[in-house]
């Protein structure tokens, strides 16, 4: 499969200040984000992601997790602070919280879209798209429109759409929150296997503390907004590759889960008595 994927333009090296970034693909510094005249949703957020590293971002609902990802992807202009990317823009993949696909394009053409933008011919892009759909268990559904797919299927099309571009840094915003437990486990495991094998760096936003620990090398905890900051950073000392079910039985898992849970409760309680 790798041979076929070589057709894609390989990501260029860091566009600027590679020495400052070092081995890191992403460095977020002093990030303050706000909507209009409201008080900033997040303030002074700092973190970095190394090549091949998986970082989870957890926090109470509405604290600004999605906004941070949007700022990294260049969709939201920061009030203050910087986002430095160690990869070309086209090597940045974004899996959104909702699964809005182009309703007027078939699943196949939705997946082929990014490949077409990257300069691939229509036929090649379609063949490649079909291969990705098949890899994600959607073989034979390429000709369907989004309206004809289930929620879980649409989610997988969106995943194929992003993975087909072979990102080196993947931003994921609660990608599987809407899926039922079984499909969720399945898709997450597939994705984890792929990410570990290809050495893709990931920033994962999630509500699910178990998922955050199971997938990540580090868990960042964002406090209650407005003016949310990173309250705690916990490394996850569990070796890779990981199995999603087995990882929950690892001796390091339960203590970390309890600590995260305590931190999160504290972060949410803090704002109630300002």
């Amino acid at each position: 499969m790798s041979a076929r994927l070589q057709v894609l333009p390989q990501p260029e090296p860091a566009p600027r200040a590679p020495e400052a970034l070092g081995e890191r693909l992403l460095a977020v510094r002093g990030l303050t984000l706000r909507y209009g005249r409201n008080p900033p949703a997040v303030e002074e957020v700092e973190f970095a992601v190394a090549a091949g590293e998986l970082v989870s971002l957890v926090g109470p609902s509405g604290c600004g997790k999605s906004t941070i990802l949007r700022a990294i992807a260049g969709l939201h202009r920061p009030e203050r602070g910087t986002v430095e990317l160690g990869v070309a823009r086209r090597a940045l993949g974004f899996l959104f919280q909702d699964d809005a696909l182009l309703p007027w394009r078939t699943a196949r053409d939705n997946v082929a879209l990014g490949l077409r933008f990257a300069g691939m011919s229509r036929r090649e892009a379609r063949a490649e798209a079909e291969a990705w759909l098949a890899r994600l268990g959607l073989a034979g559904l390429g000709g369907r429109y989004p309206a004809q797919l289930s929620g879980g299927q649409r989610k997988r099309v969106a995943l194929a759409q992003v993975l087909a571009l072979r990102p080196r840094l993947l931003l994921m915003d609660e990608p599987f929150a809407a899926l039922d437990a079984i499909v969720r486990q399945q898709v997450t495991q597939e994705l984890l296997r792929w990410v570990e094998r290809e050495g893709i760096a990931v920033v994962l936003v999630t509500h699910d503390l178990e998922e955050a620990i199971a997938l990540a090398d580090r868990v960042l905890l964002l406090g209650q907004g407005p003016r949310a900051r990173i309250q705690a950073r916990h490394p996850v000392d569990i070796p890779r590759p990981r199995d999603l079910v087995a990882v929950r039985g690892h001796p390091a898992f339960a203590p970390l889960y309890r600590r995260l849970w305590r931190d999160l409760s504290r972060a949410m309680g803090r704002e109630e008595t300002p």
């Binding site: 879209l113 990014g114 429109y145």
Partner: protein, 255 residues
Amino acid sequence: MSASDRGLSVALRRTLGLALLLAFWEWGARAGVIDPFYAPAPSTVAGTLFALFQGGTLYPHIAATFSAALLGLGAGLLIGGLLGFTAALIRPLADLLEPFMMLLNAVPRVILAPLFVIWFGIDLGSKVALSLVLVAVLVFFAVYNGIRDVDRRLVERVLTLGGGRLAVLREVYLPSVTAWVMGSLRVAVGFAFTGAVVGEFVASSRGLGYLLSFAQSTYNAAQTLALILIVMAFVLLLFWLGGWLERRLLRWRHP
């Protein structure tokens, strides 16, 4: 009962209703219940219709109305679409155009007909202008709202997948707008014919509207009805074409 069965029985019932109405009308006219001066029997109207076509003098009139309506429709779609597109994308232009378009949208635009006769004469020009104005204002708002209504999330998808401005235009804006324009295409067809025929009422030397006003001035109800039927037939034909186009272009909606 399958969907096509149901469709068939609906069509059957509708045809039956129409046939009953015609039969009652025919009977009423013959029995003297309905005054044939006002409502001549369907058979009389059919005879008049036949005679109109047989004489061959009808065709130039049909051609006149048809070309006015189609030219107005085409130019109206083009101009209204372009104005709507640019207005939605360029804020200052929208501020400039919106009050003017609002005004044109609020008034019954056919009142412009006499003015157009003065400006463009009694030939084709004034009729095309009228149906153009009727159509263009409608299409302007369809396109304008279509673009305003574009799903921001889809724009962001295309951008994060590596598409540029042109890709956003082609992949998101154009299809969204097509859906809106398709929604008002039927009304636009109706408007185009309204413009052409009303233009002919006001001042003309040919066209179905001209024949209609002539038939009216001689109190020829049979001929009036026959001409109305002709216009209706053409509009229905265009509706059907529009429906076909809509099904093709918006296949993703009702797969």
